[in-house]
């Protein structure tokens, strides 16, 4: 389960009530997503989608309130336990965050290496997923030699290759054409059916309409819709 309870995120001083609301990126956000759930997260640019997703993938800590991820309270975890929790969360970053000096294959293999998977399984799974996202012929290519869409597909492959319990994606189709976007949604839907909890942040309402699912909507850091 993913649960937010009265979560604020601010870069100001929350101890000063007069400045808190003005500086808050997220204000009093509360929701729950059951295991195996699927949520779209929509809202205009600057609404706080990326900040909320960061809190879900442990990219930041809330200024106030309580976050629970996969049944765990990250604030109560030690560094090693937080790292173990991160390994159960697949993330597709808006800016891809690929390692530029590693090949497409090595980028995708990295999460499994971190999880100490056997090399034979790493090779089989990484190769398979890269073929699935249409990059089977570019296993050895460096990200810098690939287009934005291809880099995004590597990022997606890296996020899903370890079959995470929770998948968080921030504009995962932003650089993909319609056909690739649909293939990606097939992949994510299949993972969701296998039990992965999915949260996708997007401003592509057409994509949301083609794949109906419960939706959160953010506006100015506040949850204005909660299906």
């Amino acid at each position: 389960m993913v649960s937010f309870d009265g979560v604020w995120l601010s870069y100001g001083n929350l101890a000063r009530p007069d400045s808190a609301a003005a500086d808050s990126v997220l204000s009093d956000v509360s929701f729950e997503i059951q295991d195996g759930g699927f949520r779209w997260l929509t809202g205009p640019s600057g609404a706080g989608k990326t900040s909320l997703l960061r809190l879900i993938y442990l990219g930041g800590r809330p200024s106030r309130g309580r976050v629970e991820l996969l049944g765990l309270d990250p604030e109560r975890l030690r560094a090693r336990e937080r790292a173990m929790l991160r390994r159960r969360i697949g993330v597709v970053y808006q800016d891809f965050r690929l390692l530029g000096h590693l090949s497409a294959y090595e980028n995708v293999a990295l999460p499994m290496r971190l999880a100490h998977r056997p090399e034979a399984k790493i090779k089989a799974d990484a190769t398979e997923i890269l073929h699935w996202v249409g990059l089977g012929a570019k296993l050895d290519s460096l990200p810098g030699a690939l287009s934005g869409g291809e880099q995004q597909r590597i990022a997606i492959a890296r996020a899903v290759v370890g079959r995470p319990k929770l998948l968080v994606a921030d504009e995962p189709t932003g650089n993909l054409d319609d056909e690739q976007a649909e293939r990606l949604m097939m992949l994510i839907t299949a993972l969701n059916r296998l039990g992965t909890t999915v949260v996708i942040g997007t401003h592509n309402l057409g994509l949301v309409a083609r794949h109906p699912a419960p939706r959160f909507e953010l506006a100015a850091g506040r949850l204005t819709r909660h299906d």
Partner: protein, 298 residues
């Protein structure tokens, strides 16, 4: 360290942690450390030798040796020899012959010093094996043969010991300062490496790498570079140490006074620990620096 990144270098550390500057600076520190260690050991060795030779040697001068002793029968010389023979802590008592005394006087009075008829004291050499200065023996000698002089090396030995102690303290201070500078250099280099590879570190961290894994990668690289610097610095110090050993050879006893200069076994035993120490400082400093930096991440 687990075989986590065996197939690659995901942090790209081969482009970070300056692979020339760091070994060069650590090498310079190792060079200074080698000189400090050698100085410390040499001071200890020379002091031990000088203290052993000087502190135990006694020289007794008996003016007018054939005159009657103040206490007991016989001459002053006989009385002194008798007293020394039964005194605790006195060993290897030996009166110098007339030829030996003449040989000692020759530089000042010429080869025929004995023929000048000058009143020459009798001289006795002995070894002092007791604790502390032989003041009680000197007092007893003055009673049986007033005017007898007893010279011992204990005062000089005490001064040499004090000098040695201060030299060793200086050397230890130099070693501590050098180790501190080396740690600071490695910490700065590691922080520069973290700044340079920040993006990669953050990505690996977000994918679930343990702090120990990331710190271990930096520590491995720092250990290697510091170790290389340590080996180079120590090797460069060797010819300098041999040259210094050659300069010090005349003061290091007859065994070292001839032949090629050589370093003591103790120094040979200690020198290999300099690169090892440099590598350990590299490992520990990188671990502490990276783990501290990672604590700042979410």
């Amino acid at each position: 360290m687990i075989n986590l990144f065996a197939r690659d270098d995901p942090l790209g550390l081969r482009w970070a942690l300056a692979d020339r500057l760091l070994p060069l600076l650590v090498g310079a520190m190792s060079f200074i450390a080698a000189l400090a260690v050698a100085g410390c050991l040499a001071a200890a060795s020379l002091a031990g030798q000088w203290q052993g030779d000087g502190a135990s040697a006694l020289t007794i001068q008996i003016p007018d040796p054939q005159a009657a002793a103040a206490i007991g029968p016989g001459s002053r010389l006989t009385a002194v020899l008798g007293l020394l023979g039964g005194a605790p802590g006195i060993a290897a008592t030996r009166p110098l012959s007339a030829e030996e005394i003449n040989a000692l006087l020759t530089p000042w009075l010429g080869a025929d010093a004995g023929a000048l008829g000058l009143p020459v004291p009798a001289i006795i050499t002995a070894n002092w094996t007791g604790a502390g200065p032989p003041d009680a023996v000197a007092a007893a000698l003055a009673r049986v043969a007033p005017g007898t002089l007893l010279s011992s090396g204990t005062l000089w030995a005490a001064r040499v010991a004090a000098l040695t102690g201060s030299l060793q303290t200086c050397a230890a201070a130099v070693l501590i300062i050098v180790a501190g500078i080396a740690a600071a250099i490695i910490a700065i280099a590691t922080r520069a490496g973290l700044a340079q590879r920040r993006e990669e570190v953050v990505i690996i961290h977000s994918l679930g790498a343990l702090d120990a894994d990331i710190a271990g990668r930096f520590a491995d690289r720092a250990t290697r570079l510091a170790g290389v610097g340590g080996v180079a610095g120590t090797l460069v110090a060797l010819p300098v140490l041999l040259w210094l050993a050659a300069l010090a050879a005349p003061f290091a006893g007859p065994a070292q006074a001839s032949g090629l200069p050589h370093l003591s076994a103790a120094l040979w035993a200690v020198l290999p620990f300099l690169p090892i120490s440099a590598a350990l400082i590299g490992w520990g400093t990188a671990q502490i620096t990276v783990r501290g930096w990672l604590r700042g991440l979410a």
